[in-house]
Symmetry: C2
Subunit: 467 residues, 2 copies
């Protein structure tokens, strides 16, 4: 109750003092049907100016909450690293846990981050030099090194654990038997180990987990996707609030649905406090923290397996090759900037559910957009063509997607939007073009196929187009 | 279509020729509200006579279906072994795959089957001698030996795989960190390996999986539990048929919910044909096949971890010690006799879903009953007292449970019921009393607790009662 009151006061104070962006008052997702119109009224200020204004607001938002000790599992990854830096900058005591599996998968695929990322040790030292803040790094495999995880919890007594330690690429998870098995074994055992370790430690550790919008099945319930739970009428007219039906589209997405059931069980049985964040597709590379020193640069994946769609387009724009749109590009997806990922995690950590409360679920997206419209936007900004490839995925050619994101907005998030002219051009110039010589061009094409029929259909796909 | 027609004809023919039991025409679960009345009109014929009559009907039911090659994963276990024998007797070519993990857990817990079970090799040889039918045994760990599993599929090209290869005791799954982790790692990786192996083999293998009524959460949806899917009205009045919301009550039950999502995904993405059987609590030990030779005897677990509730009561009845009822005994559960488990599996194997059909889900139960009423029944038959213990489980003290089982009944199952006087007394005499000297009495008490509070509350529990 006290927490709610404090939060409300902060919200009111913030709204008055910092002239909250009008979008804060909007509810639900920003639909992109009037895409061109919105593009025209896009802001002209730069990414950095905007994020600086916003982080001022966010700093005030978090002013009431005490610094916490936070273990970030998977803190070396694309989302984990900038999040760790952001949490550290906010004054939290951050311990990064990672087994460097993503770097090992780079080796396996023969394709590493476009940006030259430093070792965790160098990264952490550079951060200390730049910020004066200490972060620790522990090399540990959450899915295997259970005893070490328990010992870490008992020794450090963290307030929260942020759980990014999962294989996170849908295409990689569909590549073959080895990758399907690795994704399930790693993700499910990792999540279960974390929950069992929290129970065994006897500590009241708040678990913050990065899930995905993909658990909802991209619009299968036919209306606005609520945040985690959906109100249904059961046979006989009985009303019930249930976990939104899971309808995942890849082995990777399936593991996030399995996570959701594990959270539900351990929350019910052991009272573990859990916040599950269902995130959209992340775009952007750097955050106000990672750009402070080149040794802090975030990873940038552009390949067919790990490059999320907009980053892949950005890379192709910089190289001057056609953008690879799968199918008609009619798939509607949720998007969020990497800077907002980090901010959402901090908001989640600062606002744990009450003791005894059920799993708290937030939709972590800024807006929704059709992939084809995204390609048109990038093509326009970079002057490249669009190459419509056969879709390696098994999915609906077109889908509507309307997503509630009231909770984060209610807690003060004013997200960076795609049509704000922030970031996109900057990404092309400062990341994709700058490191273009490190690109392995043949890795851009899809290399994983949802099933054999899809693989056969995709044989004629080429990077340069000309179907 | 042809399959449906054939099935209908068989049903009609069977009903006329063999005077189907009237309960075949009933739909839904047999509720036990008029328990005493039904007990009085219980049949007096013996288990063997009844099962022989029924298996005659069932043989005719299956007459239209050709013998199949069937791999039974976990074929050395409590349900797997009698099922393997039954399938073999029906003329199917059976390959048992097992890593003997259940026997290893016996070693871990210091408590083995009350019945002296022989090695798989001896069992298989004895069956060959008794029946003239060959069954093969392969020692293989489904959760680990993935390549061997694929090779087995490619070499044998089975029509169906029956998947029992999961850790199946809820109390064991809650015992501690080691057992929670083992249950998740073994069950989820095993199921995923199986599905990936079927995809990799390229064969059209029908997967038949033993799930549990526990996936439904024992009555949380408030009405009759349908078979797997439930019709709901979504916000905005949109109707939808969804997987019944999962609300598992233990780590073990949770893994079965995770299985359901894996089945849904691989069915959708790869067209794998799956039948998922949500089974009630199994009672009874032997079947018409296992009693043919003492070397074929089925395992009998009576301990607090693995002894399903009625088997535990039977053992306590035979020993003359009070029956251990947890809490008020108001928990309503679904029950099925082990003989019917085997028959249901055979019906499922003989009736695969069509190509392209979604996962087929059957509720594999005969009836529902309150645990307290079950105790009264056994107490009456054996003259022992009832000892109400503090409940080691975290669950509702009382619940209603109404379960649809129309599908198996529609396919010809006429199940053995608890109040039919069949089996119960026979079990006490021929199993529990006969091998009572092998019982480790202190193993009967619950030894696993759902959480720390439950463990503390259960400290005063004793086998002999006297709260």
């Amino acid at each position: 109750m006290a927490r709610l009151l404090l939060l409300s006061l902060l919200l009111i104070a913030s709204a008055h003092a910092f002239h909250f962006h009008s979008s804060l008052c909007k509810t639900g997702a920003s639909r992109m049907s009037s895409f061109r119109a919105r593009q025209q009224r896009a802001e002209s200020s730069s990414l950095m100016l905007a994020t600086s204004r916003r982080s001022h607001t966010m700093t005030m938002m978090a002013a009431g909450s005490k610094p916490k000790k936070i273990v970030v599992l998977g803190g070396d990854g694309f989302c984990g690293w900038p999040t760790s830096l952001y949490l550290s900058e906010k004054g939290h005591d951050v311990i990064i846990v990672d087994n460097l599996s993503r770097r090992n998968i780079d080796n396996e695929l023969g394709c590493s981050s476009l940006t030259p990322i430093e070792s965790p040790e160098t990264r952490v030292k550079a951060w200390e030099k730049v910020s004066g803040r200490t972060m620790r790094f522990v090399n540990l495999d959450v899915a295997r090194d259970y005893q070490e995880l328990v010992q870490l919890f008992l020794a450090e007594k963290p307030d929260a654990v942020v759980h990014f330690a999962e294989q996170r690429a849908a295409p990689y998870s569909q590549k073959g038997a080895k990758q399907k098995r690795y994704t399930v074994d790693n993700n499910v055992s990792g999540t279960n180990n974390l929950l069992v370790a929290v129970v065994e430690s006897g500590l009241d550790i708040h678990v913050v987990h990065l899930g995905t919008m993909g658990v909802y099945g991209y619009g299968t319930s036919g209306g606005e996707i609520p945040e985690g739970y959906i109100d249904v009428i059961l046979p006989g007219g009985r009303p019930s609030s249930i976990l939104h039906p899971a309808y995942p589209g890849s082995v990777y997405h399936t593991t996030k649905c399995l996570d959701a059931l594990l959270f539900q069980f351990y929350n019910k049985n052991d009272g573990i406090r859990v916040t599950d964040l269902h995130q959209g597709i992340v775009w952007g590379t750097n955050t106000p923290q990672t750009i402070k020193d080149e040794r802090l640069i975030n990873r940038f994946d552009y390949d067919g397996d790990y490059g999320t769609v907009l980053n892949r387009f950005i890379m192709q724009g910089a190289l001057g090759v056609p953008l690879t749109v799968y199918g008609t590009g009619g798939q509607t997806r949720g998007f969020i900037h990497i800077t907002d990922t980090a901010r959402c995690i901090e908001i989640a950590v600062s606002n744990p559910p009450q003791a005894g409360e059920k799993v708290q679920i937030f939709n972590q997206i800024a807006e929704t957009l059709r992939v084809g419209d995204l390609a048109k936007l990038v093509a326009e900004k970079t002057g490249v063509d669009i190459n419509y490839l056969k879709n390696p995925r098994l999915e609906s050619a077109e889908n509507e997607l309307e997503v509630a994101n009231r909770k984060f907005r209610g807690l003060g998030l004013d997200p960076i939007l795609l049509d704000s002219n922030l970031g996109l051009v900057d990404e092309v110039k400062t990341i994709a073009a700058k490191y273009a010589d490190r690109c392995v061009r043949e890795k851009i094409l899809p290399a994983s196929f949802w099933n054999r029929r899809r693989e056969a259909e995709c044989e004629a796909n080429t990077l340069e187009g000309g179907k």
